[in-house]
C-alpha cells in the first residue's frame, strides 16, 4: 500500500512502543516490591535471612537474568522513544499563547510525564549505584559484610547494605520523593498505555482506569514505606 510507514514511526506507532515498554516495566515493579516487603516483617535476623535468600534466588535464575536484560532494554527504549516523541511534539507547537490555562482541562501530572519520567530515570541510576553496583559488580563493596547462603555460597550481605544505606536521612527523603514521582507517572501512565495499544471497549477502559490508579497508589506507597520503616526499626 502506498505511503505505509513503519510499525513504530507514526504518532500512533511511537506511542505503542511507549505503552508496551511502560507496561512491561510496570509489571516488573510487582516482582521488585514482593522482594522489598520481606524487609518489613519479622525480627532483624529473620528479615536478613528472607531478604538475602530471596535476592540470591533471583540472582541465580537464568530466566531472571534474561528478564533483567529485557528490563534494561525497556528502560532505554522507553526513555529514548519519549525523547523522540517530545522533540516531534515540540515541532508541532505554534507560537506560544500569551495567556493559556492548561490546568482548566487536564491534571498536572498528565502534562508532565516527561518531568516525572526524568526524576524516575535519575532515581534508577542512583538506586543501581546504591545497591546493584556494589552487590553485582563489587564497585565500592570493599569492607562490606559477607553472608553465607543456605547453599553454602557466600556473597555481599545485601540486607546489611540496605539497612546501612537507609540510615542516611537525605537518601530516605530522595527515595520517598522519587516514589511519589513514580506514583503519579503510573497513575496516568498505566491507563494511558492501555489506550495507546487500543483497548477501546467501554467496560474494559473503565476497569483499566480503576486498576491503573489502584496499582499506582499501592506500588508507590509500598516502595516508599520500605526505606522509612527500615530507617526506624532495623
Amino acid at each position: 500500500m502506498t505511503g505505509q510507514k513503519g510499525l513504530f514511526s507514526t504518532s500512533v506507532g511511537r506511542k505503542n512502543l511507549m505503552a508496551i515498554t511502560g507496561l512491561f516495566l510496570a509489571f516488573f515493579l510487582i516482582i521488585h516490591l514482593l522482594g522489598n516487603l520481606t524487609l518489613l516483617f519479622g525480627t532483624n535476623e529473620e528479615a536478613m535471612e528472607h531478604f538475602n535468600e530471596y535476592s540470591h534466588l533471583l540472582g541465580s535464575l537464568t530466566i531472571i537474568k534474561l528478564v533483567s536484560y529485557a528490563l534494561y532494554a525497556a528502560i532505554i527504549t522507553h526513555a529514548l522513544d519519549a525523547l523522540l516523541i517530545i522533540l516531534k511534539n515540540q515541532k508541532a507547537h505554534g507560537d506560544k499563547y500569551v495567556s493559556f490555562d492548561a490546568s482548566a482541562t487536564s491534571p498536572w501530572y498528565s502534562r508532565n510525564m516527561g518531568v516525572l519520567g526524568s526524576i524516575i530515570l535519575i532515581f534508577i541510576v542512583l538506586h543501581m549505584g546504591n545497591f546493584w553496583a556494589k552487590y553485582k559488580l563489587g564497585i565500592g563493596a570493599e569492607g562490606l559484610d559477607q553472608f553465607t547462603y543456605d547453599s553454602g555460597e557466600t556473597g555481599v550481605n545485601l540486607y546489611k547494605l540496605v539497612v546501612a544505606t537507609f540510615k542516611m536521612e537525605w537518601l530516605v527523603g530522595v527515595y520517598v520523593i522519587s516514589m511519589i514521582a513514580l506514583g503519579y507517572h503510573l497513575y496516568h501512565g498505566v491507563n494511558a498505555a492501555t489506550r495507546s495499544i487500543g483497548v477501546y471497549h467501554k467496560k474494559w477502559m473503565k476497569t483499566m482506569e480503576t486498576c491503573g490508579k489502584i496499582f499506582a497508589v499501592v506500588i508507590s506507597f509500598g516502595f516508599a514505606i520500605v526505606p522509612v520503616v527500615v530507617y526506624f526499626i532495623r
Binding site: G3, N89, A92, S110, S196
Partner: protein, 249 residues
Amino acid sequence: MKIHLKIWRQDNANTPGKMVAYDLDNLSPDMSFLEMLDYLNEQLAAKGERTVEFDHDCREGICGQCALIINGQAHGPEDHYTTCQTHLRTFKDGETIFVEPFRAKAFPVLRDLKVDRGSFDRIIQAGGYISAMTGMAPEANSIPIHHNISESAFDSAACIGCGACVATCKNSSAALFTSAKISHLVKLPQGEVERQERVIMMVNQHDDEGFGSCTHTGACAVACPQEVSLDNIARMNYEYNRALCEIDS
C-alpha cells in the same frame, strides 16, 4: 457592562503579531462573544482602523467555524461550548479578557484571530470517505444497523472540526479529530470497505501535517464543544494496530 480586551493582532502569516488593548463600555451581558467583537469592529471601522478579523459562520454552535482562545481556554471558560455560544454573562463586569487565535504549526495564522485549518480537510481527504454505488440514492433503511451502534457512530460524527482539540492539546495533536472521523465510519457497515487503509492513510496524513502525538491528558475532550469522547482515540489506536496486522495479508 464594561470589558477590557487584549486581542492578538497580526497582519499576515509572515509578520509578527502582538496583543493590543481595547476597552468596551455599554455592553449587554446577553451579547454573544462574537457580537461583542462585531461591536468593537464597528467602532474600529468608524475610526478608520483595520477591523479585527475572526472566523464565524452559523453562530448557532453547529458549524465549527468560530475558533478563539478566550482567557487561555479554547472557546472560552465554559466546557463544551463554541465561541459563538459563549455570552458576556460568563464574564465579570470590568474583567480583562485575553483573545488569541488557535495555535499550532499545522494551523498557521492568516490574520489576527483567523487560522488556516486546511490541514483538517487534507486529513479527511486522505481517508474520510466510503465507497458507494453511483446512480439512484439507495433505500435509506436497506442496511439494518443496531440502534446503539448508530448512536455511537453519531456521537463520533458529532465532531464539527473546529480545532479546539488541537488548540488545547499540549502536543498540538489532532488525535481527537482524526479518531472521531475514523471511529464514525468504522462503526458502520458502510465504512467496512476502506477499514484498514482509511486509518493508515489518515494517521499518516495527520503526521505529515505536523500534528503531535496523543498523551491522553484528556484536555481535548474537555475543550470539545461537541463532547466528542476521548474513547475515540483508543478506538483509532486499535484500528491502526489491527490494520497493520491485516493490510498485507
